[in-house]
Each structure stands twice: as C-alpha cells, then as structure tokens.
C-alpha cells in the first residue's frame, strides 16, 4: 500500500450527485490509484498482438496508429455482425436506470460513468453515431458521439473500471450484460494496441509457461513438492501429488495462485489431503497448470488460445475426465465457453465419481466437474470422515464469486460443504450474496497496486457486508472459491474491516478432514495452534 493512499474515512465520503457537465463531453483525468498501467511491449509482441509500443495512459500522446478510427469502426462493425448480444444490447436499452446503483464501482465512487447504463452508453453513443439512421441524421440529439481521442480515453478508463461481474445484468429488465459490452470494448481497444499490463503479462506468461507468474515447470514441481512436505509436517501423512502422469483417471486443474500465493496455498493443502484420503487416481499438469484464464479479460480469441491447453493436455495424458479447482472466472470460461471454444471433448468419458458412483450428468459434454460439486457429492454419500469442530476457531461467512454464480449457478454446493465442515456459518445480508453478490472489486485484470484506490472503492459494498457480519456475529473469516478473491480480498478487508481473514472452502475441508494414519494435529493448516484458541486439537480424533 503506498503512503499517499486515502484513509477509509476519506474514501467513504462519496458524492452521488451527478456533475453539471453533460456526460457526452468526455472528460477523464488519470489520477494515481484509479487506472492501470499499459500492457508491456515485449508481451504484446510475444503474443503477436497489433501495434505493440511503449506508452502509458497518463501521457497525452498515446501514439495511436494511423487510421485508428477506421480500425475501430471496422472492428465494431465486425462484432455487431458476429454477436447478436452486442447488437441487442446496443439497441434496446431504455435508460430506465435500474442498473445504475447495482454496480459496486458506482456505489464506491459515485462517478456517474460507473453506472452500468452510462458505461454502456460510452460505447453506445459511438454506435448510434456510426451505425444507426437516427444517429447519422440527428447526431447529438439522438445521443450520438463521434469517436475522438477523448472518447477513446474514456473507454480505456471506464472499461478498465468494470470487473465484468454481471451484477447489472441480473437487474436489467432485458438482461443487458454490461460485462459483455466491456468485453467488446476491450476487444476494440486491443485492435489498436491498447490494453493493460496486468492482462498482457499474465496472458503472455500463461501462454508460455502455463501459469500467470511465468514460473517454469521445475518451479511448479517445487511448489507442489513443498506443499507435500509441509502437509506431512502438519498431519504426519505423506500424500502423493503426481505431475504430468499419463494414464491417470482424472486431470486436476486449479488456478495457478493456489500453488504460488497465500492464502490460496491452504486451499491447495486441502485439495492434496482430500485427494489422498479418498485415493483419487489423478494428476496435475505443469503445461495446463492454469485454470484461471486472463484471456477472458482480453478477447474471445485470447481466451480460446489459453483455454485450449486443458483439453489438449487431457488428451495427451489420456485421462478420463477433469476436475477444476476453486476459481471464479475460470469457471465462467469452463462452464460457458470451453466446449464451444475448444470442444468437443469426445476423447473423454462422462464423469462418474469413482467413490460414490454418481454420474455428473450436468457435465455430460464438457466433462469437467467443479470441485465443490465433487466434494459435496462425497460428503453427501458419507465418504469423508469430518470433524467440523476443528474449524471452531473460525466464525465464517461465504462470498459468492461473481462468475460461478451469475454464469453457472453454483450456490448450494459450496454452502453444503461449508456447513459440513464448519459449525459457525453466518450469511451476509441477502442483497449482497447469491445472484446479488458483490464483486471483490478487483477482477477482470484490475487487481493491481497502481489501481489500489479504485479497488478499495469497488470492494466497498462487499467489505461493508462483511463488516455487518463481523459486527453482528463476530465473523473472523471470509471464505471464497476464487483465486482473484483470495488475492484481493485480504487487502480489501485489511483496509475496510481489519480483523477478518480470507480463506478457501477446501482449506476448511482440509482442517476438518480426518486422515488415516494422521498424527496428533495440534495446529490448523495455517499452523495456528488449537490450544491458543482454547481448544484441544485431538479431542474427537
């Protein structure tokens, strides 16, 4: 956190009153803390993207290529012909305003252009001007705007101030999904070499090494081996964690942060314990070691390029089906796009749990099962020995990640698991969970240090709801099933609600799971001794 960050008391002085100046006059100021740095030239080149160059958003001259307006016009036209969604969303908004105060960025910043309706109008105004009769004839009176450098700068600022969370889409009477409008706008900007560093770099790394951080295969193996050693210390059980093993029954794909970052790491320990305990015949892959797909935040094409690895690797290794770990946008891609992009996965088998015999009919063609579905099924069939009191030091609440809820509907599975492994579970207020869940404020590539203030603003509604259960139920941990959440909620809570930790659902599973041959486990997976919390570690073992 930089020193010049505003204090929470200051940041929460939010002015919701719209300014005098019409929104049609573009005006953006790139102030520290609320925008992202430009994509790095080398990475753009590595990915063979157009117009790689060195530039920064705060500079006056963005070194736009000659004829950039024409490039965008053509790109826009092409997408209007390729996506019914885009055309419909451009055509039918009635500006009823129902979506206006549903966006966490508007709630946290009061900036009217963070109302989903106006965010969309930034693009729609250009659409009207260039593609509709009314706009061509009446221009400004019909709400049309010419694409100028000022408008482009606005696009950059506000379309990288949308986390593609789809909350607005839940409330819109026509289901207009500003997340998709943002995707389209980002694709258009990509055409003239405008993107951000925290999308370009992870994408390039992931393309090359299989993970966002660019860690090479041996580094990946080291991380997993390290976790295996640590788990042995914690539990006395040595688990196996095969990598790139041909002929395994199942390929397991997690977001890479699970093995490189904290508190994700404790969730990794949970997976390893679980898979060992049930005796799952599975393998990790170093090549397809990233489920999280930052290509989604870049373009449909980039999403496809990165996602292709999962099926290719499943085929090479000869597995039967795939399980995917705790990740949000990864599941948007797996659930809504993967089969269309890189299927059919006809070389795989319809997933059947080897332990319960459950046929995962909901994954018949994609053949990829969410770990919460897998674990909930195990617990439901009493296949796990669990001692939820080993999580009694945690008073938990659960954050629904945007994508698994609003682009899939994963609601009850994680709750069932949590209730089976924790004794103290308290939901946040109803308008802030399930399909109305609030984003962490840092998704879709926006989780950078330079964007810190805007992230704290965007995360305010989420943090505020956590504050509520912290105050009323003494909640001290926020569980989630998403790698971006696990990376960005800790600083968010430290800023707004100090004293609440962040953890994964399978971390709780790991704590509660009683393993064959385990020794006395005096600490939880974080190494916190149970005695300190006034509990005996081995009471019920």
């Amino acid at each position: 956190m930089a020193e010049d960050v505003k204090k929470p008391e200051e940041l929460i002085q939010i002015d919701y009153g719209p300014p005098k100046r019409s929104w049609m006059d573009p005006a953006v100021k790139f102030e520290r803390g609320s925008y992202n740095y430009a994509a790095v030239k080398d990475n753009q080149e590595y990915l063979s993207l157009p117009f790689p160059r060195k530039w920064q958003p705060y500079e006056d001259d963005w070194q736009l290529p000659d004829g950039w307006e024409e490039i965008i016009f053509k790109g826009f036209k092409e997408r209007l012909e390729k996506y019914r969604s885009l055309r419909i969303f451009m055509d039918i908004c009635v500006r009823c305003g129902a979506c206006a105060d549903k966006c966490h960025f508007f709630i946290g910043s009061g900036d009217p252009k963070n109302m989903p309706v106006l965010r969309a109008e930034l693009l729609r105004s250009v659409y009207r001007n260039d593609f509709t009769t009314a706009g061509k004839v009446l221009g400004k009176f019909a709400g049309g705007r010419k694409l100028t450098v000022g408008v482009l700068k606005e696009w950059f600022y506000y379309f990288y101030q949308c986390t593609e969370c789809r909350r607005c889409s839940v409330f819109c009477p026509y289901g207009i999904d500003t997340a998709e409008i943002t995707m389209m706008a980002r694709e258009l900007m990509n055409l003239i070499g405008i993107s951000i560093e925290w999308i370009g770099t992870p994408v390039a790394n992931c393309f090359r090494t299989g993970n966002h951080l660019g860690i090479q295969p041996h580094g990946f193996k080291d991380s997993i081996d390290f976790a295996v050693d640590e788990l042995e210390e914690l539990t006395g059980v040595r688990v196996e964690a095969p990598i790139n093993k041909k002929g395994a029954e199942i390929l397991f794909v997690a977001p890479s942060a699970d093995y490189f970052a904290s508190p994700h790491y404790y969730t990794l320990l949970g997976y390893l314990q679980l898979f060992h305990e049930i005796g799952l015949d599975y393998t990790w892959s170093s090549y397809a070691s990233e489920g999280g797909n930052f290509g989604l935040f870049h373009s449909a094409e980039m999403m496809k390029r990165l996602n292709s690895k999962i099926y290719m690797e499943a085929k090479r290794l000869g597995v039967k089906w795939i399980i995917g770990g705790e990740c949000g946008h990864m599941w948007r891609v797996v659930h809504q796009y993967m089969d269309t992009l890189n299927g059919p996965a006809d070389f795989l088998e319809e997933p059947v749990s080897p332990f319960t015999g459950t046929r995962f009919e909901n994954t018949r063609t994609t053949k990829m099962v969410h770990i919460a579905e897998f674990t909930a099924d195990l617990i439901h069939h009493n296949k796990l020995k669990l001692d939820p009191s080993r999580n009694d030091h945690w008073r938990v609440t659960y954050h629904d990640s945007c994508n698994p809820v609003r682009a899939m509907g994963l609601l009850e599975e994680p709750r069932y698991v949590i209730n089976s492994v924790c004794n103290n579970f308290h939901e946040m207020p109803e308008n802030t969970i399930r399909e109305q869940t609030f984003c962490c404020g840092s998704g879709a590539g926006l989780g950078t240090d330079e964007n810190f203030e805007m992230r704290m603003r965007g995360g305010l509604p989420r943090a505020n709801a956590v504050q509520y259960v912290h105050d009323t139920h003494d909640v001290n941990i926020l569980l989630c099933m998403c790698a971006i959440d696990k990376a960005t909620l800790p600083p968010l809570l430290e800023y707004w609600v100090p004293g609440v930790e962040v953890g994964g659902v399978h971390e709780m599973v790991g704590n509660a799971l009683i393993m064959k041959g385990q020794h006395d486990r005096p600490t939880d997976l974080r190494g916190t001794p149970y005695e300190q919390n006034g509990k005996e570690g081995d009471d019920n073992v």
């Binding site: 719209p18 129902a98 109302m115 309706v117 009477p173 289901g175 207009i176 292709s308 995962f360």
Partner: protein
C-alpha cells in the same frame, strides 16, 4: 436541453394537424395518407429490425444465471431463475415479458450514517412500468372496437371490466386513468431524480411525451370533446377495408390524436421502443443454462494460434529433465 428538444418536437407534432386540418382543411392527408404511411413504416421497419436480430449468430451460450444450477440430484435447481430446459426458458421469458421479473428485484442503495450501505427494495419503477405497459396493451386492444365489425365479444368483455366502477358519463375507463398516471410518473421520475435526468436523452423524454399526448388527446375526445364516434368508426373501417373515406364533422382533436399515433408508429422502429421485440432476443435471458450438458456451436469459430505441449517441452526440456519430470522425448 434534451427535454426542451423533446417538448419542441411534441409541440410541433400537435400544431401540425391543428393548423393544417383545422385551418387548411387537409383532412385527407392526415386522416388517410399519413396513417397508411405510418403503418407501412412501422411494419416494414420493425420487421427489418427483428429479422436483422434473428439473422445474427449467437456465438456463445451466456445466460445470466440467477439461481441454483441443476447439478447433483439432491440439490434443488431453480427452474425459472436458472432454467436448464427449454420449458424453463419459456417460463423465465414469460415472467420477464408479462411481469418484468428482473425489474421486480430492484433495490435502492444508500449510504447511511456515512458508513453503512443498505439496499432497500424499490418497486416503484416496476409498478409504474407494469401499470403503463398493461394498460397500454388493454387500451390498444379496446381500440379494435373501431376496426372490427361486429365488435368481438372479448373486446366487449374487456370494456365491461374496464368500466367496472360505472362513474362519470361517458363511463370512465380505469385504464385511461392508470395509463395517464403511470406515464406522468415515468416522465416526472426522469426530471425529478437527478441521476435519471443526467442519463436521459431526448429519445427518453420524447416517447413518454408522445404517449402522454396520445392518451390525453384520446381522453379529451372521449370525455370532453364528445367527438362524433360514428364518423370516426366510418373513417377507421374505411382504412381497414382499404376504401378510405373522410366523413364530415370529425373534430380536430381526433386528427391530433391520429397524427400522434402515426408519429409513434413511425418513430417506433428507429428508437429504443424496439425493446418490445428485442427483449425476446436477449441471450442472457432466452438461453438455457445447460452449457456443460449440450454443446453449443459457434458458427464463425476459427482456429487460433495455440502453444502446444511439444513447443512447451522443447523450450523447457532441460529443466524438466533435471527435475525428473516425465517427458515425451528424452
């Protein structure tokens, strides 16, 4: 400015028939030609819009899911909020179109005591919107009494229900009161609420004013002007049977009313009013969430540059070997 522009346009639209029919006697133009042209523009324009949407590909299946998915057999799926079958989708769409399901969720967020965010249910827009649309539908349906001879029984029944309270003479239709109240609310909402005023374009005020103009001129004719209904029916039947006549003695209010309706018909296909058709095409609502069950094909899919395992192993073979990781080629 946007509001002012809309007011001016409306004023012109009212003044035109007033002057040209009232003073210049262009009855035939306003009674026959303009309505025919308007109807043609409406039908062709709307058809073109709808066909254009229908023609466009839907590359991905991206419903917005608002409830539990269908996964494990013992977890109850939310069939309407997260439909997994066509039947569910039809149910979801019916709820949207008939009852504005999504708008019903509306909340208003507020920052209280400077630190606490609350989200209170806010059903006003839903109620106002629903009231307007339903009464509009009924009013339009009631008009079939002018276009059909004999008047179908369902239209008569509807009229009977609509004049349930038997107040006034001629008896007041409930829908007339509601539609004007609802439109007035929708209009003032846009002016009073600073946030809405900020986002409103001319294209947002104008249709509301136009509809208000239509409703008020209609009411004026029925209750105050006591226009010659027989003459109007003769005119409308003439239009329907393609043998247009303009009888003598129809008041100018009727021509204003008819001209505003014509304006609405012409305006409709080129404005946000096409939401009436578009809502049926919205991919976040009209698709089933059965993505992992049924493959969805993208008609314009094309091959992309990927990074194969072979390329990966070629680049990292040495380190992989040193780490004793399995290799395809030693």
């Amino acid at each position: 400015m946007n509001l002012f522009f809309s007011l001016v346009v409306i004023a012109v639209l009212i003044a035109l028939p007033w002057v040209l029919v009232g003073a210049a006697g262009l009855d035939y133009l306003f009674g026959v030609i303009v309505p025919y042209v308007a109807l043609a523009v409406f039908v062709v324009g709307l058809l073109m819009r709808v066909l254009q949407w229908a023609r466009l590909p839907v590359p991905f299946r991206t419903p917005t899911t608002c409830g539990q998915q269908k996964s494990l057999p013992w977890i109850k799926p939310s069939r309407l909020e997260n439909p997994h079958s066509t039947l569910g989708v039809i149910g979801r769409m019916l709820l949207e179109v008939l009852f504005f399901r999504s708008l019903f969720r509306n909340t208003r967020s507020q920052l209280r005591d400077g630190s606490r965010l609350t989200y209170l249910a806010d059903k006003w827009l839903w109620a106002g919107g629903l009231a307007f649309h339903w009464t509009f539908l009924i009013v339009v349906a009631r008009h079939f009494r002018f276009f059909l001879e004999p008047v179908p029984w369902c239209v008569s029944v509807m009229e009977g229900l609509d004049s349930f309270f038997q107040i006034g003479l001629p008896i007041i239709y409930l829908t007339d009161v509601i539609i004007i109240a609802a439109l007035t609310y929708l209009f003032f909402r846009r002016i009073v609420n600073p946030r809405l005023r900020y986002i409103s374009l001319a294209g947002d005020y104008f249709p509301l004013l136009l509809l208000l103009g239509i409703a008020v001129s209609g009411v004026w004719m029925r209750y105050f002007d006591k226009t010659d209904i027989v003459g109007i029916k003769e005119l409308s039947m003439g239009l329907v049977t393609l043998g247009p006549v303009v009888p003598e003695g129809i008041g100018v209010t009727f021509f204003i009313h008819l001209f505003l309706v014509s304006a609405l018909l012409i305006y409709f296909p080129f404005s946000k009013l096409v939401h009436a058709g578009g809502v049926f095409f919205s991919p976040t609502r009209n698709l089933a969430n059965n993505n992992r069950v049924k493959r969805h094909i993208n008609p314009w899919d094309y091959p992309v540059k990927v990074h194969t395992y072979e390329e990966y192993e070629d680049e990292f073979r040495d380190v992989m070997k040193a780490a004793e990781m399995p290799l395809e080629k030693e």
